[in-house]
Amino acid sequence: MNQNLPNSYRSGPDERGHFGIFGGRFVAETLMPLILDLEKAYVEAKADPSFQAEMNVYLKDYVGRPSPLYFAERLTEHLGGAKIYLKREELNHTGSHKVNNVLGQIMVARRMGKKRIIAETGAGQHGVATATLCARFGLECVVYMGAVDVERQQPNVIRMEMLGAKVIPVQSGARTLKDAMNDALRDWVTNVHNTFYCIGTVAGPHPYPMMVRDFQSIIGHETRQQMQQAEGRLPDSLVACIGGGSNAMGLFHPFLDDPSVEIFGVEAAGHGLTQLHAASLAGGRPGVLHGNRTYLLMDDDGQIEEAHSISAGLDYPGIGPEHAWLHETGRVTYLSATDEEALAAFQLLSRLEGIIPALESAHAIAKLSELAPQRPKDHLMVVNLSGRGDKDVPQVGDILKGRKK
């Protein structure tokens, strides 16, 4: 662990986009001028009160914020420990937390005069959010999605097309999220003059990890206020699933400097950490990919390895650089949940609370059976229910049907 602990966990990144050794701007020269322009445009927007005011209108009336903080009474009783609250990001328009970030980036793109938006997507949640806001603002939208994910997340593909987006199935590599990001970057390099790349998570070259975190931090800010209203104090712990880590960073960031708050991120352990998985902190090491230095799954030659998760949204061999730093400083504890654990949690939440979670969010729910029972009944635990499971119903249905036979 790093012995030089910072005075604040919330002051990063530095002016070069670094969180400790992580982050940075590892991109081709063609993109570099644009990334500098984007940073300038974002910093200006952030300082402009009219930008936030306009965002607030859309967050309230279009996205439907604030999202509720819901006391999950039956889940709490079932686990017999900590008092569990769910932050209901799945109730947002488009069905996940992704829309918070997309709205922000689309507003920045409009300020920059960009007319064409590209995005990568894994589960399709970020793609759907991007397609939605492009429809709302009359922008051209192209979404890159791994061909494997196109298969397993059909409902979202149909939604994106219905919203007027062009979905391009990516055939390279493992044909999942990593490869979708490669092809989105290739598109961006080619169409750099008119195109804005709307990255869906807290990864990529600076300023993306910072910008996406800022747009997602509304999750944590609302949670603070709502918990204050409900219980008159801060929560004692936070739990969120992590692929790239944007829903987790959004919930965690406003609490990083509150030492009484324990924070847990849950990576996807796939078939198990000794087999195929997507847990880059547990099974990877620092390297450079997709514009930033972070923990990555790779072999001894530095070749990136293919991740595996039942959840398309977590099926990525890296993680946002700020999470890599929070892991090394020890501020956040990172756990992992297997495909099987996530499937069980998916069913548990559906039956106990009448809420079908996204398979991604089910990874966070899965760890509650370890975290909640060992904590007292007055321990306040917040779980980010980052997305809803409608998109996963066909896939999970098939898996369960296959087992009955």
């Binding site: 290739r186 990555l296 530095g302 070749q303």
Partner: protein, 278 residues
């Protein structure tokens, strides 16, 4: 410090001609064939050889070079074996400059200092690392200069006059001008637009300027060579190689010749260019 790259461009200037720069992927489709190909390139007229270091996620490359990298990786190629290949080449040729081109992660994992020492000892002259812009110079560029290797920077159509000095500051050997905004193997470069861009960069540097991306034919190579100090051809050579493979993607008796023959034709194109204006 004078590298083989500096010496080669000085010699070409004396001869009054532009350089023909070739790109092939190390280990495509296997290490032995790949070594035979790079050995054949100087005889075919290559003045400088760029050797791709295979990487699983080449973000700036089009489908041809992506596939070449994957063929090489499938055949067991690694960065260590790429350096072995360079040593094999140097046993026979101590004059032709060799430039390794690729992405940062395999070097970072190999270890920067160890990589630079091993590369220099093997006979590498320069590096082109696509995902290391000047903003990240402390990672590899500065250490490479100290180790006696040229760090060759890419300048692109989006690199404006304001940014050019930063891009050129720690560049040595030559400047690689990317003729199109895009990935390798994409749209054909317009030689007139490229000529203007090269003239613009020349106002900022005395280094030779080579142009690549979108040059596929002897005619195109000649047109570019009239305005630049070198033309780089990669995808067309990689495609010629691929066309010679058997159904399982293995090398055949025709593979080395397929690449060398196209290289000869391209070299003739470059040599047919009028003397580059200085």
């Amino acid at each position: 410090m004078t590298t083989r790259i500096d010496a080669r461009f000085a010699e070409l200037k004396k001869q009054g001609r532009s350089a023909f720069v070739t790109f092939v992927m190390a280990g495509d489709p296997d290490a032995r064939t790949s070594l035979d190909i790079i050995k054949a390139l100087p005889k075919a007229g290559a003045d400088v050889i760029e050797i791709g270091m295979p990487f699983t996620d080449p973000m700036a490359d089009g489908p041809s070079i992506q596939a070449a990298g994957l063929r090489a990786l499938k055949g067991g190629m690694t960065l260590r074996k790429t350096l072995e290949m360079v040593r094999g080449f140097r046993k026979e040729d101590n004059a032709t400059p060799l430039v390794l081109m690729g992405y940062y992660n395999p070097i970072y994992i190999y270890g920067v200092d160890k990589f630079l020492a091993d590369a220099k000892a093997a006979g590498v002259d320069g590096l082109i690392i696509v995902d290391l812009p000047p903003e990240e110079d402390t990672e590899l560029c500065i250490p490479a200069m100290k180790a006696g290797l040229n760090f060759i920077r890419l300048a692109t159509p989006t690199t404006d006059d304001k940014r050019l000095p930063a891009v050129l500051a720690n560049t040595s050997g030559f400047v690689y001008y990317v003729a199109v905004t895009g990935i390798t193997g994409s749209a054909a470069a317009d030689s007139k637009v490229v000529g203007e861009a090269v003239a613009r960069i020349k106002r900022h540097t005395d280094l030779p300027i080579c142009v690549g991306f979108g040059i596929r034919t002897p005619e195109a190579a000649r047109a570019i060579a009239e305005n630049a100090n070198g033309s780089v051809v990669g995808t067309a050579l990689v495609d010629a190689l691929k066309g010679s493979l058997d159904a399982e993607g293995r090398a055949t008796a025709k593979t080395v010749a397929a690449v060398a023959d196209l290289a000869s034709a391209l070299a003739q194109g470059v040599r047919g260019a009028r003397q580059a204006a200085e």
